[in-house]
């Protein structure tokens, strides 16, 4: 059961929240999240439109036991996976090998070295000066850098830091256990940090 017959979508409420508020808060992060699962920006837009339709159809089944964002992003994920199956193409971005590189590889002395486990190429300065004047510029760099990191890492950055889900909620949506999530976030933050480091050293 979804919206009542004749009820405009704009009046629909989900778990007490007006649909328009959910669209305002989550549409853009939903597209970003969908983009980690399908091959193009236009496919991600399509997925999210389909997901909203599913949300409307299923509105009455939302019992409020989870955060509405967890529910919404779960629908986006399922819709994107259906979409991907329809395309039935194995994409390069599904290959997990690229998730494996440690962003700090080569920065620490290896085990066995007299200073093993300590920095060989240490970080030299923080990114933000005290007055934060370059913050906006760096934030833009970060947005671009986020597009470049592997999709599963990007998914978790979106769910945890953009949408603000807890570790448990993000794990439920992304279907990863706690250890895998920590590993992916470690690499995601490391990759983003490296991008900022490169930017700051220019």
């Amino acid at each position: 059961m979804g919206a009542a017959v004749g009820e405009p979508c704009s009046d629909l409420r989900i778990g007490g929240q007006p649909l328009v508020d959910l669209v305002r808060d989550y549409h853009r992060p939903m597209v970003g999240f969908a983009r980690t699962l399908v091959g193009s920006a236009s496919a991600a837009e399509e997925v999210v439109q389909e997901a909203w339709l599913q949300v409307i159809k299923s509105a009455a089944t939302f019992e409020g036991r989870s955060h509405e964002a967890t529910w919404l992003f779960g629908i986006v994920r399922n819709t994107a996976l259906r979409h991907r199956r329809r395309e039935s193409t194995i994409r390069e971005h599904e290959q997990l090998a690229q998730e494996g590189a440690d962003p700090l590889e080569g920065r620490m002395h290896p085990p066995g070295h007299p200073q093993g486990g300590h920095w060989s190429v240490p970080p030299t300065e923080r990114f933000l000066p005290e007055n934060h004047v370059v913050a906006q510029e760096l934030a833009e760099e970060l947005r671009l850098a986020l597009e470049e990191i592997p999709p599963r890492q990007r998914q978790l950055v979106i769910l945890r830091y953009v949408v603000g889900l807890s570790a448990e909620e993000a794990g439920e949506v992304a279907q990863v256990d706690g250890q895998a999530q920590r590993a992916l976030l470690y690499r995601a933050r490391g990759n983003l940090r490296s991008a900022l480091e490169r930017r700051c050293s220019r």
Partner: protein
């Protein structure tokens, strides 16, 4: 990636090195477990590069918030999306 040794509960403070610390930073920035506090503090007191690393990760958090603070749609965009969904829904209803 495996967790740092001290998280396994069988290591003293002296065994924390920078490789462990860069993993611990994640915990530090989340809800830092009490038992790790003194161990990490001791490492930070002895390792200026890791202090900088920690500051960089704090800056990263600030920048992530800044980069995505405008993610919310404005009223016009909300209207456009809701209108598109409504049109789609009507299309599906017609088919049914």
């Amino acid at each position: 990636m495996t967790g740092p040794n001290w998280l396994n509960g069988n290591v003293d403070a002296a065994s924390i090195d920078c490789t462990d610390f860069v993993v611990l930073v994640d915990e530090l920035l989340e809800a830092f477990p009490q038992e790790g506090g003194p161990i990490v503090t001791r490492h930070l007191n002895e390792c200026p590069p890791c202090v900088i690393y920690l500051q960089q990760m704090q800056d990263l958090r600030i920048l992530l918030n800044l980069a995505f603070r405008d993610e919310k749609l404005d009223d016009t965009s909300v209207e456009r999306v809701v209108s598109a969904i409504t049109t789609l829904e009507e299309g599906f209803s017609d088919v049914r």
